[in-house]
């Protein structure tokens, strides 16, 4: 899942460690989310939205769903 975490973090001049501390997760988790290797759970996604004061939809962009023809 694409996300704006890195951009939002850079705007605030936060390190990954700073964001990890604010979210209560490890720096590795923040890095994995930013690189798209890990999709956060719903509670964590809400915490991210709260920390950045942005709606979830503005931060995370889901992968396009396959259409019926493509399946």
């Amino acid at each position: 899942m694409k996300n704006q975490l890195r951009v939002l973090r850079a705007e605030r001049r936060w390190s990954q460690e700073d964001l990890a501390h604010a979210l209560g997760v490890s720096r590795q988790t923040v890095n994995a989310i930013e690189t798209g290797r890990y999709d956060p759970s719903l509670p964590l996604a809400f915490r991210i939205a709260h920390v950045f004061a942005n709606p979830i939809e503005a931060i995370f962009e889901p992968e396009p769903l396959a259409t019926t023809n493509e399946r």
Binding site: G24, S26, N31, A32, R37, Y38
Partner: protein, 127 residues
């Protein structure tokens, strides 16, 4: 002291206690001072409470991990469990043709090795 450091110290103390009790029980049993099945069994089981403490601290550490760290740990446990399952089943077939029986300590060692390997693979996946 941070919570992480506190857990690390607790784990270290539990593990040290286990090792000391293990060495102590082995020394007592090999010394010949304790006779009879029940007394010798009790001495042999001396390290078990410390082993339980190690498990308790490990579970506490696991529950304190964030969601990705827990997923990585679970991935490693699956690799360790299934890998050990296949290995011990295969050895069981060999025992059917006369190969020496597998010791429980060897199985435990295999579990640890596969867990560490599984941990490395899982961490690499999310790097």
């Amino acid at each position: 002291m941070t919570a992480t450091r506190r857990r690390t110290v607790a784990f270290g103390l539990a593990l040290l206690t286990y090792v000391l009790l293990l060495l102590g029980s082995l020394a007592i049993l090999s010394g010949g001072g304790v006779t009879g099945v029940m007394p010798r069994a009790l001495v042999a089981l001396l390290p078990v409470p410390a082993a339980v403490a190690v498990v308790a601290v490990s579970v506490d550490q696991f529950l304190a991990n964030d969601e990705l760290q827990q997923r990585i740990q679970l991935n490693a446990l699956v690799v360790a469990f299934l890998g050990t399952l296949v290995a011990t089943f295969s050895w069981g077939f060999l025992e059917g043709v006369g190969v020496e029986r597998l010791s429980g300590f060897v199985v435990f060692g295999m579990l640890i090795v596969l867990y560490v390997a599984g941990l490395a693979l899982a961490r690499r996946r999310y790097r």
